[in-house]
Assembly symmetry: C2
Homo-oligomer: 449 residues x 2
Amino acid sequence: MKRILILGAGRSATSLINYLLEQADTYDWIVTVADMSLELALQKIGNSSRGNAVQLNAIQDVTRREALIQGADLVVSMLPPHLHVYPAKDCLRFNTNLTTASYVSPEVQALSTEAAEKGLTFLFEMGLDPGIDHMSAMQIIDHIRDLKGEIQSFKSYAGGLVAPESDNNPWHYKFSWSPRNVVLAGQGVAKYLYQNRYKHVNYSRLFAQSALVDVPGMGIYEAYPNRASLTYREAYGLDNIPTILRATLRHRGYCSAWNLLIQLGLTNDSYTMDYSEDMTYALWVESYLPPSNGKTWGSLKERLAEYFGLNVEDESLAKLEWLGLFEEKLIEKVDATPAQILQDLLEKKWKLEPEDKDMIIMQHEFEYTKEGKTYRHTSTLVQKGENASDTAMSRLVGVPLAIGAKHILLGNITNAGVHIPIKPEIYNPVMKELADYGVKFSSKDEEIN
Amino acid sequence: MKRILILGAGRSATSLINYLLEQADTYDWIVTVADMSLELALQKIGNSSRGNAVQLNAIQDVTRREALIQGADLVVSMLPPHLHVYPAKDCLRFNTNLTTASYVSPEVQALSTEAAEKGLTFLFEMGLDPGIDHMSAMQIIDHIRDLKGEIQSFKSYAGGLVAPESDNNPWHYKFSWSPRNVVLAGQGVAKYLYQNRYKHVNYSRLFAQSALVDVPGMGIYEAYPNRASLTYREAYGLDNIPTILRATLRHRGYCSAWNLLIQLGLTNDSYTMDYSEDMTYALWVESYLPPSNGKTWGSLKERLAEYFGLNVEDESLAKLEWLGLFEEKLIEKVDATPAQILQDLLEKKWKLEPEDKDMIIMQHEFEYTKEGKTYRHTSTLVQKGENASDTAMSRLVGVPLAIGAKHILLGNITNAGVHIPIKPEIYNPVMKELADYGVKFSSKDEEIN
């Protein structure tokens, strides 16, 4: 018998817990789900005889956390990313393996040598992005290397979107993941490499110059570069690649409308509007326009059109209007930053309704040369959710993590130290089982020029 | 005999020290100048028999600092702003008065009640801005109130500029104060009030929509709103004023050229370019432009013109070119943020040469109503420096501080607690003596429809 301890039973843990409980009889597992809310943990294990639910504040209840980790063969941490380091240190003391869907923090990386010495596997970045992105890209990269091809360009796109059948708003977007991350997306700078030159895109221009991406079978989407396109260059063995870009996908028209919100300053998270109590959304938006200096003006929409040099019929303005930003209705969130006020509004407008389906698109585009010829390989994943609770987003985060957990327990993944899934012995079994589960990339190969 | 302790002998302390030493015989003062560098302190007191120089690390040498403060009748702190709280606490313990040219921090404000109970004067914001701005504005505000006028609008402009006779670069700007503050100016948001409506200007638009200001006798300048126009509304007794704005003055053309630097992202201070070693300024600027996608392009200047929708002959582009941003010359500052690289370049280009004169302009514009009529009062200060060491900037910071110090010692300023110079008993003696010293506002009154 093996004991699995899952820390955190939130929304994103559902698919993970379901997968592990379904296979618990086959592999003789006991799955303990620990959460601040005992009720939530109980709900997640349902009536499975293989599941245990315990109440745990993973940070404050140190003794109980230690006891649980000491008794486990594997810990799966679904805690907020900055908290993984606490169970990770316990895992070192009690010789327990660990896996998560989060990025490796410097604090966790610092534990790698000790974990390696003890023969422990700390497998991170096992979700969707990071996770499936690494595994699917590395499968292709290793394959092209086997063919003796030389990779010239790697562009990788991903987006958490709404499925076309549930798409009924002018933004063509609904939240399937952290609204705060969506509102603050791109603040700072985006860095990538294009034909051996560093490229930077400042936040003030990021959504103004999105690129178009053809997703086979789905049509044309917009993409804006992510902050960190260069991070995995070395890990992927692409140190000398001339072009590398990671970008986020959105429906066409999203970026230019979002750019208006950025230009006005509605995504600013750096100051509190402590006088917004008596402000309507229309007054709020107007506060970002220059004074009229006594001129006679038209509607707020007309003034925005003039300010941005747009036609008043521009779809970007219609998107802002649909959000209620031109309404003389009191702001509901007060004493908040502009970004928080905007997020509050968007959470109402961009909510997945119970029967709405979300959709994940991930696409890798490689260009490589071989024997004097240039080839393009395109690999695309399109995955739809079932409804607002069983989303593609939560499945694609939870299932690869669960599969990775299984293979650690089965002794198929034994890499000691802190790892991410970029080696064949890790990604092959996971990608194979994901395909059985229906998570399949379709690919296209073509010779170009 | 009275003992004055000056903490810090840096550049901005010169005028202060000179003023106090000049009057030391008259008033029987001993002026002790304490600095980390004994050499610098010695240099500043010169051969005055009234001056003492001591070596002091004001934070680490606690015992010596305490002894010096205990032996003083007044402390003038020229330490970096966040350090004033240390001498302030000593002043409370040893019953010593204190004055500085810096903003009141929350830590200092928290000491006000105790200072008041002990009858101690802690007089802050006694420099130029903050300092002369408060005093000159309050003189007018109190005067209009005496006339039973009702203030409808208060706009206050200030700029540290280069004097026309030393203006020989296309930006018409040279550094007379902290270069870092100039490079980062406006990041965040500017807030002001216009006709009873809050106005916000996001950084991405701040320099794109500067206003024009007529400075009598000097011509037209550009102004961009400061962060904190609303801060002193209450302190000035203008709680219900419909329009209040504080703004920074620049020569015409500065703002639209600076806006290009902002739009590109060259003022971003949030990430380090750890790969800039082999980068030229031209490659750096180019890294912010979208990829050419195989098109044949012209010069970097032509591509920037196309990117920003400008004519290639636009003066903004000429300003960037003059800075050397289009040159294939290696970046001199490496492992730095864009803002630091830009600052390094600007410090060479915008340096005050030894014989260059700087220039301060401060202008207040009031509109007030009285007996059914509307009046405009404009009050303007234009002050030029002598050369790069005796700048108008350092004089206008040091001299009001020194005059305030004198009146505290003479018992003319006795307000107990933490104060800023907004009361007649403080600003009147200081403004009177500043006028004798040549620091005079000229004013203009007119009736407007």
